[in-house]
Amino acid sequence: MPLLDRMGWRTDDFSRDDVDGGIIVPLAALRSTLDARRAGVIGVEISNDVAVDRLAPYFAQLALIAIAFPAFGDGRGFSLARRLRQAGFAGRLRAVGPLIPDQGPYAFACGFDEIELPEASLARQSEAQWAAALGAISHAYQPGYARQTSIFERRRAARAHKQESRSHA
């Protein structure tokens, strides 16, 4: 399946089959996979209603968590990504499902690193469209989301800067 990150299409170094390299397993198989492949690079795919507590014990052993988006209009995955990041998961976060380019900035802002799309999306929506969508809005209002600073934080910084230069003057 096509895989995309902030920079564009990328090759998938994970697979769902038992081959060399990273493997993504369903949550039900996580325990046994971890037991059997202590050295391997392991990811888990979860539905968007899994409680963070169920995964937290495995964070250190997980290279990737893939969250399924059953439909692009189902935004639970955005909150789950936020919760996983908040709980300290530092590995890769992948969104899996029929997202559209306009959701790219939202997904990355919520903590996803990459998006795995169904083949059908590829026919209609190009890499250029995903890139354009990422650059459509320069600054978001909400603090704490994107890697870049929010409008609220920028305003505060600008005011602090002004006050500082005033006090130096």
């Binding site: 306009d102 809005i137 320069s138 989301y145 609220f152």
Partner: protein, 556 residues
């Protein structure tokens, strides 16, 4: 009024460009209609019965003369010369083309406006007390908080694909004119009963629609600086746990109801406890925004205006209008004036482009260039000198905007219904018109006194029928339009859901039925007792026989 800074300006310009691109991708087939629909809805663009409809955000109902003139220009250039003020303090154009929508948004951006999140399963345009900054019972002006929430909710990365729409209202007064309890979340600015500190009370789980519910207090007192973090927590719980299997059970009210208030509150508080805190940003933002709402230079005037008092005595028609149109201003010598958009027999909330331009001039001449839109689909000139009221009234009269019915039986709230709306099951406006004509006589209306009739053309309840003193809901029954009448609803602090009076009526029976109910009230009321007070005292059942009698006559 709040004025965009460079960040807001850039944001809204980029948003227009983004939508222009989305439209282009839709037309090229890159986006399917199913993919495009939520995108256009989040920009206020619907596909209705006859055409597209664009709903323009009027954040917390505050509008400048310059903005109103721009709306008039859009109405003439891209629509059919009129607009419709909605029950959520917004404005709708009924006939725009999809291909013109980006240009309309550019014109809006020119005057610091947009159509962001006036529809869709996201945090909708924030509403507030239409007498904000004016009312004497205000603890603090709610507009800075409302503006903060407008910005916080705009293109929210986490909360733009919620289970369903999400409506937030804010008030800073002791009397709740923003109807917080009918919203998904209500924010009430209040003083802590012991410490006297100003903070927020947070309500959640209210809403009308198919299953009307009254909002409940989730947090008694939230200190300032924690609002964004707390709302993040509520939204995260709702986004994660809200039902997505059934559109009619997807609002937060169902989640609160099914979990129970305590469990819901616990979930929110645990989320709040672990989430990041944006206290510094929030406090700084409110401090930055607040001064823009206190720039009006009032004259030092006596509390009583001799010109005004003399004009009332000399002109009884003026005095009649004044009776209901005025709301006391916190500044002596001023009043807030409600202008009815409910001419007898007219379309509730409609305004022509010519009226908009003339009204913009009036707002400039008499009210610091500012006006408000109320959820009752009327306008407010918030800062009028008592000395100027008579001149204002005369000019309004020439524009057809001096209908003296604010709060009376013909000041009817009605959604567009099946005359425009694709979701409607029956028409609303013709029902409003029929009732309005029936009770059009000025003396008769004043004799009846305050009475709120609210009409919705479908179960989604945009016309707030559940909370009308008399509510009317248009449905389809056996291939005909059919109207259910409820009694005893109230859109106030004592939010109440009306009770069904009996079987559905045909369109031409409704005005008669309303007349019978009103006659019952007039016969049974005690001196000085308003309609809703009488309904409370006598009970809804006391009115059923009058209602049913007519229905049986019609059936016989």
């Amino acid at each position: 009024m709040y004025a965009y800074d460079e960040f807001d300006e850039r944001f809204v310009r980029e948003r227009v460009a983004q939508f222009r691109d989305q439209v282009a991708r839709r037309l090229s087939g890159s986006l399917t209609e199913d993919e495009f629909r939520p995108l256009r809805l989040q920009n206020g663009l619907y596909l209705q019965l006859h055409a597209y409809m664009l709903r323009i955000a009027i954040p917390y109902g505050v509008l400048s003369s310059r903005q109103l003139r721009q709306l008039a220009l859009i109405a003439d250039r891209f629509d059919k010369g009129y607009g419709h003020f909605t029950t959520r303090q917004n404005l709708q154009f009924n006939w725009p083309k999809l291909s013109d929508a980006p240009d309309i948004l550019d014109l809006l951006a020119d005057v610091g406006m947009h159509a962001i999140q006036t529809s869709g399963n996201c945090i909708r345009n924030v509403t507030a007390d239409h007498f904000a900054g004016v009312a004497r019972d205000e603890i603090e002006d709610p507009r800075p908080v409302a503006e903060l929430l407008r910005q916080w909710s705009s293109l929210h990365p986490e909360f733009s694909f919620l289970p369903r729409k999400f409506k937030v209202a804010v008030t800073g007064a002791t009397e709740d004119r923003a109807v917080l309890k009918a919203h998904d979340v209500g924010v009430r600015i209040l003083r802590h009963p012991e410490s006297g500190e100003i903070g927020y009370q947070i309500l959640a789980g209210g809403g009308l629609g198919r299953t009307p519910m009254i909002g409940k207090v989730v947090r008694d007192f939230l200190p300032k600086g924690q609002l964004l973090a707390y709302l993040d927590a509520i939204m995260r719980v709702y986004n994660s746990e809200g039902r997505r299997d059934n559109k009619y059970k997807a609002r937060i009210k169902i989640l609160v109801h099914e979990l129970g208030l305590d469990a819901f509150r616990n979930a929110v508080e645990s989320e709040f406890a672990v989430g990041p805190n944006w206290s510094a940003e929030e406090t700084a933002e409110l401090a930055r925004i607040a001064p823009s709402f206190s720039k009006i230079a009032y004259d030092d005037l006596p509390a009583v205006s001799r010109i005004f008092e003399a004009a009332k005595l000399a002109n009884p028609t003026f005095a009649e209008w004044v009776e209901n149109a005025l709301f006391p201003h916190r500044v002596a010598g001023y009043a807030a004036v409600t202008i009815s958009l409910k001419p007898v027999g007219g379309v509730p909330g409609d305004m022509t482009s010519d009226q908009m331009r003339a009204f913009a001039d009036l707002a400039e001449r008499y009210s610091s260039g500012e006006l408000r839109v109320t959820h009752a689909q009327n306008l407010v000139l918030p800062h009028v000198k008592l000395d100027d009221l008579f001149d204002l009234w005369r000019t309004l009269g020439a524009l057809g905007l001096a209908t003296a019915n604010v709060g009376l039986v013909t000041d009817i709230i009605a959604c567009p219904g099946l005359d425009y709306c694709a979701l409607a099951t029956a028409r609303s406006i013709p029902i409003a018109q029929a009732i309005s004509r029936r009770f059009g006589d000025s003396a008769r209306q004043r004799e009846i006194g305050p009475l709120q009739i609210k009409i919705s053309g479908c179960i989604n309840a945009c016309g707030h029928h559940h909370v009308g003193h008399i509510g009317i809901l248009g449905l389809e029954k056996r291939g005909q339009e059919s109207y259910q009448v409820t009694l005893g609803g109230e859109a106030s602090d004592n939010l109440a859901i009306g009770e069904l009076l009996g079987p559905g009526l045909s369109a031409d029976e409704v005005a008669d039925a309303i007349e019978r109910i009103v006659a019952g009230y007039l016969a049974k009321r005690r001196p000085g007792e308003t309609f809703i007070e009488a309904v409370r005292r006598l009970g809804v059942n006391a009115f059923k026989s009058a209602f049913l009698r007519g229905a049986q006559d019609a059936a016989a």
